[in-house]
């Protein structure tokens, strides 16, 4: 492992200044992904700035009925919070579907959405990867694509030598639920505080696959806010994986239905970012959530999907799997409360 300096500043403002002052500095929170990357050589910082004990660990009520998750609250803690279990079950379920008890005790609200892709080529420093080594190419194209993207990619077989090619997916379960819930990200940066809608936090590869999010160097997530849902909203998270526990999603679905019948839908394991299914939502707006209507809406969402060929028949299986899983998720929502 490359040597690095370690700092635990007095407060978050100082932490931001420390990172801004050192171009090759990173923030450390729970460490579940970063420490592994330090060991693998995927991350090679000169300075590690520890913010785990600087941001809030509290989960607090917001005046409008929402909830503020301090950046240092752990995934276990948020999943067990009675308010989250009662009012945002999709988030509790997403958190509980991720990782293991030990990892959830370490992983934080601020760190979880910033974890990096589990693309095997990204994690293997001996292979070309535009995300890890910009301009080196993409080893995943035509390779092991089982966990890779079908949405937000330019073509079914992008040019593996092009510097913008990346077919990686975002691995977080929590982030899929937060995308469906219209969560808001509180960010402290060199220029002060700002709020970033969760659905705009992550980006598609565009012309720079090395950047997962819109955050700039020195930007620190200090909290994530859950806006209140209309009373009677039903929500659920459904994850499909290669084994029953402790595995990343092949695909996943976060769904919330308001009493008015509005569906909020986000997909995991399908794109470089947690994928808010806005097209499907639009198709369904004002319609009854019948199985045929949901089927048609998800077909519209997936019209632009690009299956990637590769080892073991590639990832074309994801397209029908997403459609079926969305349907199963909506069908499996708890029954409406009778008033």
């Amino acid at each position: 492992m490359k040597p690095f300096a370690y700092a635990r500043p007095g407060d978050v403002a100082e932490a931001v200044r420390d990172v801004v002052a050192e171009p090759n500095a990173v923030f450390l929170a729970g460490g579940t992904n970063l420490v592994d990357h330090l060991r693998l050589g995927v991350a090679r910082p000169d300075l590690v700035v520890d913010v785990r004990t600087l941001t809030s660990r509290e989960v607090t009520d917001l005046p409008d009925g929402g909830l503020r998750l301090g950046a240092a609250s752990t995934n276990s803690q948020v999943a067990a919070d009675p308010r989250v279990r009662e009012r945002w079950p999709v988030l509790a379920q997403a958190l509980l579907a991720g990782a293991t008890g030990q990892l959830r005790n370490m992983a934080t609200t601020g760190g979880n959405p910033l974890q990096r892709t589990r693309c095997v080529y990204f994690q293997d420093v001996t292979t070309p990867c535009n995300k890890r080594e910009p301009g080196s190419g993409c080893s995943a194209v035509g390779g092991y694509t089982r966990y890779h993207a079908v949405l937000g990619t330019p073509a079914a077989l992008p040019d593996p030598t092009a510097p913008e090619t990346c077919i990686a997916t975002h691995p977080s379960d929590m982030a899929v639920a937060l995308a469906a819930l219209d969560a808001q990200v509180q960010v402290l940066g060199p220029a002060g505080e700002r709020t970033v809608p969760f659905t705009e936090l992550h980006r598609l590869p565009g012309d720079d696959p090395s950047r997962d999010t819109v955050l700039e160097h020195g930007d620190l997530i200090t909290a994530i806010d859950l806006p209140a849902l209309p009373a009677g909203t039903r929500s659920a998270y459904r994850k499909v994986r290669d084994r029953a526990s402790y595995a990343f999603a092949l695909i996943s679905v976060a769904a919330a239905v308001t009493p008015d019948g509005d569906l909020r839908l986000a997909l995991g394991g399908v794109a470089h970012k947690p994928w808010r299914a806005t097209r499907a939502e639009e198709v369904l707006r004002g319609q009854q959530l019948t199985e045929d209507a949901v089927r048609a809406a998800i077909a519209a969402e997936l019209a632009a999907a690009q299956p990637q060929p590769g080892i073991d028949s590639g990832n074309g299986f994801k397209i029908p799997l997403v459609a079926r899983t969305v349907l199963a998720t909506v069908r499996g929502l708890p029954p409406e409360e009778q008033s």
Binding site: A5, S76, A80, R85, L96, G101, L103, M106
Partner: protein, 169 residues
């Protein structure tokens, strides 16, 4: 680059200087000679390095020692301070919940954490009613212990051992 830290391990305080790259696991094993937590994968995938860190089950391979200055750590060794076995350890013996034993200290620490999580009413991925109090069923225990791999596949005895320890508490 070096840093000076204090770790309280199994009730005893230790002052030590560590390279900033040192994991908590290496600090415990290589610096303090506590070989109870094991190095399996060193990537957070196997659970052999599990300890109780400030009361919560934690993977020491993914924790930097320097980031845990002042931490209170209990290893499987520290669960039986005077040689009297912790109920979880006794249950593992009673149920023959191991073969080679390499993963056992991690399994035991994880199980102690699992029982505390049941005590607090924490749900899991297999909990049907998120707003209710989960019961210590086979499926609940198996799901909660899924972060501890046993390559001898002693799971058929580990799960009942954890249930037994939970019932006996």
């Amino acid at each position: 680059m070096d840093a000076e830290i204090t770790l309280r391990v199994d009730g005893e305080a230790h002052r030590l200087t560590v390279d900033t790259r040192t994991s908590l696991l290496d600090a415990l094993r290589e610096r303090l000679g506590n070989t109870s937590p094991k190095k399996g994968c060193d990537h957070g995938q196997c659970g052999a390095c599990t300890v109780l860190l400030d009361g919560d089950r934690t993977l020491t391979c993914l924790a930097l020692a320097v980031a845990h200055d002042g931490a209170e750590i209990t290893t499987a060794d520290g669960l039986a301070p005077a040689g009297e076995l912790h109920p979880v350890q006794q249950a593992f013996l009673d149920s023959d919940a191991f073969q080679c034993g390499y993963c056992t200290p991690g399994q035991v620490c994880s199980a102690v954490g699992v029982l505390a999580e049941f005590e607090r009413g924490w749900p899991s991925h297999v909990t049907e009613d998120l707003t209710g109090r989960p019961e210590m069923t086979h499926d609940e225990v198996a799901e909660r212990m899924s972060g501890n791999l046993c390559r001898c596949a002693a799971y058929v005895n580990i799960t009942p051992a954890v249930q037994q320890a939970g019932g006996a508490r």
